[in-house]
C-alpha cells in the first residue's frame, strides 16, 4: 500500500469535512477539530487499511515474532523453570543425537568423503546355504564388463601391508582396488592423481600407489613434492602418484585405509588370493531387485565358462550397508537397540517437562484468564504457549548437539584405543544432518510436551480465576499423576535393559571361552610384508617358533592364522566328508584355521580324542586335519569315532583326521557351537599369522619378549599388533561393552529424570495443600502422619508405574535378543535391582518435600491464602 497516498487521502477527507462545516458557519478551528473527531482514530484506520494489503503469512510472522518476544520475556522471569526444561531436554537430545550420529554413519553416509554413499550397491556370490562368497578378480571383470545395471562397478579388497624398510617399517591397512575405484566413488586427488583404469591393464605392470591424506601428513610431513617418491610396500618398490582427498578413509567403514594399490599388483606384494568386494552406483532407473536379477542372469549365462561350474551359487546385489559381514551389518543390531533406548529417554524427558509445563500453566491461570477476558481466542493462547515451548526447545537442540559433538569423539576414541595399533576411522562427524535431526526432535518434543498442557491451561474457568479460587481441578491432578507413572514405567524399562546388558557383559567377561587367554602374549606378523615367499616364510616361522620356545619363562609357543573369538568373521571353506552324501544344494562349509604344533597346549584347549598336530605333520608328510567336537558329533556321532576318518577342505586332497579338539568360541563369545576344522600350518601356509607364547610372567612381559625375539630375527619385519591375548578379548567384547556403557548412561539419565519428575510433582502437591495441612495440624495431626500420607501417595504412583514398567520390560526384553548373553530376558536379579533403584528414587523424591510439609507451621499455613 502507498502510505503517503493514504495520508494525503485522509488529509483531503478532513479538509473537505471541515470546509463543509465552515460553509455552515462554524469557526475554522472548531470545524477542523469536529472533522478530526468525526473521523476517529487515524492511526487505527491506517493500520486497518495496511492490514488489507498485507498477505496472511506476513501477518502470521509478525504475530509470531511478537509471541517469541513475549515468550522470552516471560521465561526470563522464571529462569529456574527455563533452565530445568532446557537442561532436561538437552540431555534427551544429546543422547539421541549421539546414537543418531552413529546410525547416520551407517545408513546415511557410511563412507566418508563419498557423495550419496548410502546409495552404493554391492555384488557378491551366495551359496544355496546363504553363505556369502567374495568375488575373484575374474568374476569381477566378467560382471563389470557385461553388467548394464551399474553406472560403474569397482572392486576392492582390504588387506594389511608393510610400509617401509628397516626399523621404521610398520603394518597398515590398504585396499587393493580396481582401476576405476576412485572414478566410481567420485573421490578426487588432493595431490597428483588418483588411480585410473589405465592402472589395471597388465598383471604386475603398475607399481603405483595412492596414499591417504593422513599418511601423507603423519609419515611425510605433508611434503608437497611427494608425488613421484618411491616407497616400499611389502618390500616391493611402488611409486606414489597421488594423495587422496582428506575426507576419504577408504570403503571399509571402520578401518582407516592409508594405501590404495592397483589390484593387479597383488602377486608382486605376496598376495596369493584376493577376495574382492564389488560396489557401485546403480543407474537411475534400476532398482536393487532389478540389478540382482540381471546380475544373476549374467552369472547363469557365464556358468559354462567357469572352471568348476557350481550351479548352486547365485550372484546377488544388495545395498551397501547390507554387504555380508560388513561393519554396518555387525553394528546394526546394537544401534537399533540403542536408538530405541534413546527414544525412551526422550519420552521420559518429555513427560518430565510436560509435568513442569503443566504446573507452570496452573500458576499462570491469572494471566491466561486475563487474556481470555480481553478477547483472545483459545487458539491464540495455545499458540502462544506452544511458541514458548519452542523457544525452550531450540536452545536445547543446540546444546544437545554440542554435547553430542563432544561425547561421540570420546566414544570413538575409546573404540580406537581398543583397536590400536591398528588405525580405525569412524565417520561420526556431528554434521548438518545430525543438526537437522536434533532440531526436528527438539521441536517434535516441544509439541509433545507442550501441546497437551497448553490445551489444559487454555481451558481456564474465568469466574474462578477472577475470584481467585485456588484450583480444584481433579482432572489436571490426574494428568500430572499419569505423567509420573509414565516416567517411572519408562525409566524402569531402561533400567531393566541396562541391567540385563550389564549382566550380559559380566557373563561374557567371565564365561570361559574354551581356551585360557591369561599369561598368553599375541603378536601378529605378516612375513610377506618383508618380501618372504611361502618357502622362506615356512623357514622364518620355524625360526620364530624355536626362538620363542627358547625364551626363558615361556613354556609353550605356537601360532595360528586366526585369533580365537575373532569378532570379525573369518573365511569359511567348503568341506567334503568321506562317506557323507550332502543333500542336494546343501552348502557344506565351515570355518577353519591353520595352526602350528603345540597350539592347543599354548592356549590350553583340551584335545578330546586322538592327538594334536606335531612335528610329524610336515609339508611333505601325509595330509592330516583336526576337527572340533561339534564337527565330530555331527558327522560321526561320537568323538573318538572321528579318528582315522577322511575329509577334504576346499577341494584339496583328502586328509586324515588325527585328533578332535574341544569346542571354543571362534567368532563371538555368544555364538552357538559350530563345526570347525584345523589344518597344520606346514600343510596350509599363510603369510600372516598370530604368534602365541604362554609363560608364567605377566602377559605384558611375554609380549615384549616376543617382540624382541621377532625383531632380532628380522628387524625389517613390521609387527602388526602385539598385545596380551586377554586385551584382544576385550576388543572382541567391544559391542557388548559399548551397549552396556550406553544403556547404563541411558538408564541413569532416565532414572534421574523420573526422580526429578516425582520430586517436582510431590513438592507441587505439597505446596498446593499448604492450607489443608495447616487445618489438619491445627486439628492435631502429627508431622509424621502428614509425611506418611504424602509418602503413601508418592509410593502408590511409583508402584503403579513400576508395575507397568515391569510388564512392558517383560514384553520388550526379548527384543534385546542378540545383545543378551548368559542371562535370560526375564532375569529376576536385573528386575529386582531396577525395581529397588526406582522405588528408592521415588521414595527419596517424595520424602524430602513431604518432610518439609510435616514441619509446616499451622498458623502460617492457615494465613497462607
Amino acid at each position: 500500500m502507498d502510505e503517503d497516498d493514504f495520508r494525503e487521502e485522509i488529509e483531503a477527507h478532513l479538509r473537505i469535512a471541515a470546509d463543509e462545516r465552515i460553509a455552515d458557519g462554524v469557526d475554522r478551528e472548531a470545524a477542523r477539530l469536529a472533522a478530526l473527531k468525526e473521523f476517529g482514530n487515524v492511526a487505527l484506520t491506517t493500520e486497518a487499511v495496511r492490514r488489507v494489503w498485507t498477505p496472511r503469512w506476513v501477518e502470521f510472522l509478525r504475530d509470531l515474532a511478537g509471541d517469541v518476544r513475549y515468550a522470552v520475556r516471560s521465561l526470563a522471569k522464571n529462569p529456574a523453570f527455563a533452565a530445568t526444561v532446557v537442561g532436561v531436554l538437552t540431555l534427551g537430545i544429546a543422547l539421541n543425537a549421539g546414537v543418531f550420529t552413529m546410525l547416520k554413519a551407517i545408513a546415511v553416509s557410511p563412507i566418508a568423503g563419498v557423495d550419496r554413499s548410502a546409495r552404493l550397491a554391492s555384488v557378491f556370490r551366495e551359496t544355496s546355504g546363504g553363505r556369502a562368497v567374495a568375488l575373484t578378480y575374474d568374476d569381477y571383470k566378467e560382471v563389470r564388463d557385461r553388467d548394464r545395471a551399474f553406472s560403474g562397478l569397482m572392486a576392492t579388497s582390504v588387506a594389511t601391508v608393510g610400509l617401509g624398510r628397516e626399523r621404521a617399517s610398520r603394518s597398515l591397512f590398504a585396499e587393493l582396488v580396481s582401476g576405476n575405484y576412485f572414478e566410481v566413488l567420485g573421490v578426487r586427488a588432493e595431490q597428483g592423481r588418483t588411480l585410473l583404469p589405465s592402472d589395471e591393464i597388465a598383471a604386475g605392470a603398475h607399481p603405483v600407489v595412492v596414499i591417504s591424506d593422513g599418511l601423507w601428513r603423519r609419515d611425510f610431513a605433508a611434503d608437497p613434492r611427494i608425488v613421484g617418491t618411491t616407497i616400499d610396500v611389502n618390500h616391493y618398490p611402488m611409486t606414489i602418484v597421488g594423495v587422496a582427498d582428506p575426507a576419504f578413509h577408504g570403503t571399509t567403514v571402520v578401518y582407516d585405509v592409508e594405501l590404495f594399490i592397483p589390484v593387479l599388483m597383488a602377486p608382486q606384494l605376496g598376495f596369493v588370493s584376493v577376495p574382492l568386494d564389488a560396489h557401485g552406483f546403480l543407474r537411475p532407473e534400476i532398482t536393487i531387485a532389478n540389478a540382482s536379477a540381471q546380475a544373476d542372469a549374467l552369472w547363469a549365462a557365464l556358468a559354462p565358462k567357469r572352471p568348476i561350474a557350481d550351479t548352486t551359487e547365485h550372484l546377488r546385489v544388495v545395498s551397501f550397508w547390507r554387504t555380508p559381514d560388513g561393519a554396518p551389518m555387525i553394528l546394526l543390531p546394537t544401534l537399533t537397540v540403542l536408538s530405541a533406548m534413546g527414544l525412551l529417554v526422550l519420552m521420559v524427558a518429555c513427560a518430565n517437562i510436560a509435568g513442569l509445563v503443566l504446573v507452570r500453566g496452573v500458576s499462570r491461570r491469572g494471566e491466561i484468564g486475563l487474556r481470555l477476558a480481553l478477547g483472545a481466542t483459545r487458539a491464540r493462547i495455545v499458540r502462544l504457549l506452544v511458541v514458548e515451548n519452542l523457544v525452550l526447545a531450540l536452545p536445547a537442540a543446540v546444546l544437545g548437539v554440542w554435547l553430542a559433538a563432544r561425547g561421540v569423539p570420546l566414544l570413538a576414541g575409546y573404540a580406537e584405543s581398543l583397536a590400536a595399533p591398528r588405525r580405525v576411522f569412524f565417520n561420526v562427524d556431528v554434521d548438518r544432518i545430525v543438526m537437522a535431526f536434533s532440531v526436528i526432535v527438539a521441536c517434535g518434543s516441544a509439541l509433545v510436551f507442550g501441546f497437551v498442557p497448553a490445551l489444559q491451561s487454555s481451558r481456564v474457568d474465568l469466574v474462578s480465576v477472577v475470584n481467585e479460587i485456588s484450583p480444584r481441578g481433579a482432572g489436571r491432578g490426574r494428568l500430572r499423576s499419569t505423567l509420573v507413572v509414565a516416567q517411572v514405567a519408562v525409566s524402569l524399562l531402561l533400567l531393566v535393559g541396562a541391567g540385563l546388558v550389564t549382566r550380559s557383559l559380566d557373563a561374557a567377561r567371565h564365561t570361559y571361552p574354551g581356551f585360557d587367554a591369561s599369561h598368553v602374549g599375541a603378536v601378529t606378523i605378516d612375513v610377506k610384508q618383508n618380501g618372504y615367499d611361502p618357502a622362506h616364510g615356512q623357514v622364518m616361522y620355524r625360526h620364530v617358533l624355536d626362538a620363542l620356545r627358547g625364551e626363558s619363562g615361556v613354556d609353550a609357543a605356537s601360532f595360528a592364522a586366526f585369533d580365537p573369538v575373532a569378532f570379525l568373521a573369518t573365511p569359511a571353506r567348503q568341506v567334503q566328508v568321506d562317506g557323507y552324501v550332502p543333500r542336494r544344494d546343501e552348502d557344506l562349509a565351515c570355518l577353519w584355521n591353520s595352526v602350528g604344533s603345540d597350539y592347543f597346549r599354548t592356549l590350553s584347549i583340551p584335545v578330546a580324542a586322538g592327538r594334536p598336530f606335531d612335528d610329524r605333520d610336515a609339508a611333505n608328510a601325509a595330509p592330516v586335519a583336526m576337527v572340533n567336537t561339534t564337527f565330530a558329533r555331527r558327522f560321526w556321532g561320537e568323538t573318538p569315532r572321528a579318528i582315522g576318518k577322511r575329509i577334504r577342505v576346499a577341494g584339496g586332497e583328502w586328509r586324515t583326521v588325527v585328533g578332535v579338539a574341544a569346542d571354543i568360541k571362534y567368532i563371538r563369545i555368544n555364538e552357538s557351537p559350530r563345526p570347525y576344522v584345523y589344518l597344520p600350518f606346514e600343510q596350509a601356509y599363510r603369510s600372516e599369522m598370530v604368534l602365541y607364547a604362554h609363560g608364567s610372567a605377566p602377559a605384558d612381559v611375554v609380549v615384549e619378549k616376543m617382540r624382541a625375539r621377532v625383531a632380532a630375527l628380522d628387524p625389517e619385519l613390521p609387527i602388526a599388533t602385539a598385545r596380551p591375548l586377554a586385551d584382544h578379548m576385550k576388543g572382541a567384547l567391544m559391542l557388548f561393552d559399548l551397549m552396556a556403557t550406553m544403556l547404563f548412561l541411558f538408564g541413569g539419565a532416565g532414572m534421574a529424570l523420573s526422580a526429578l519428575g516425582t520430586y517436582g510433582l510431590v513438592s507441587y502437591t505439597v505446596s498446593q495443600s499448604t492450607h489443608e495441612i495447616g487445618i489438619r495440624m491445627a486439628l492435631g495431626a502429627s508431622g509424621a502422619s502428614i509425611v506418611g500420607a504424602f509418602l503413601a501417595r508418592g509410593l502408590r504412583l511409583g508402584a503403579v508405574g513400576a508395575a507397568i514398567g515391569v510388564a512392558s520390560a517383560l514384553a520388550a526384553a526379548r527384543l534385546l535378543g542378540s545383545a543378551l548373553f548368559g542371562v535370560s530376558a526375564t532375569d529376576p536379579a536385573s528386575y529386582a535391582r531396577a525395581l529397588a533403584i526406582i522405588i528408592g528414587c521415588v521414595a527419596t523424591a517424595t520424602i524430602v518435600p513431604a518432610w518439609r510439609a510435616g514441619r509446616t507451621n499451622p498458623l502460617a499455613a492457615l494465613r497462607h491464602q
Binding site: I16, V49, V52, T377
Partner: protein, 119 residues
C-alpha cells in the same frame, strides 16, 4: 444464502458484505471520494447508518484489492483535491449479485417475521 455458517468470523463477514454492498451501490451514480461516500450513505439512510472512517477506508481498500472499484485523484466541485472511487465492470456484476442476495435475505426474514402461527 446461508446463515448457518459455524465459522467464528461469519458475523463480521455479514457486516463487511453489507457495507461493501452499500459502497458499491453509492458509486452507481458516478465516482465519489471517501468523505462523500460516507455522507451519501448517511443521508440516504436518513442518518440511520453512520459509516465511520475506520470502517469505510479499510472497506474501500478491500474493494479496490478485489478489483471491484478503481481510484484516481481529481478535483471536487469546490476545487479541492480528493481521491475519487468509481465502479469497475466487475464491481457492477458484484453489486448485482449482492443485491439479489440481500433481497432474498430480506424477503426470507420478512416471511419469518410476518408468519402467522400454524393452527
Amino acid at each position: 444464502m446461508t446463515l448457518r455458517s459455524t465459522r467464528p468470523d461469519a458475523r463480521t463477514d455479514l457486516l463487511h458484505g453489507t457495507l461493501d454492498m452499500l459502497i458499491l451501490r453509492t458509486l452507481v451514480w458516478g465516482p465519489q471520494h471517501g468523505y462523500a461516500i460516507g455522507q451519501t450513505i448517511r443521508a440516504q439512510s436518513s442518518d440511520v447508518l453512520q459509516v465511520e472512517a475506520g470502517s469505510l477506508y479499510p472497506a474501500l481498500q478491500r474493494l479496490a484489492k478485489k478489483g471491484w472499484i478503481a481510484s484516481k485523484w481529481g478535483l471536487t466541485g469546490a476545487n479541492q483535491r480528493a481521491k475519487f472511487y468509481r465502479l469497475t465492470p466487475e464491481g457492477k456484476k458484484q453489486l448485482a449479485r449482492e443485491e439479489s442476495r440481500w433481497s432474498e435475505l430480506v424477503e426470507a426474514i420478512g416471511r419469518v417475521i410476518t408468519a402467522k402461527p400454524v393452527e
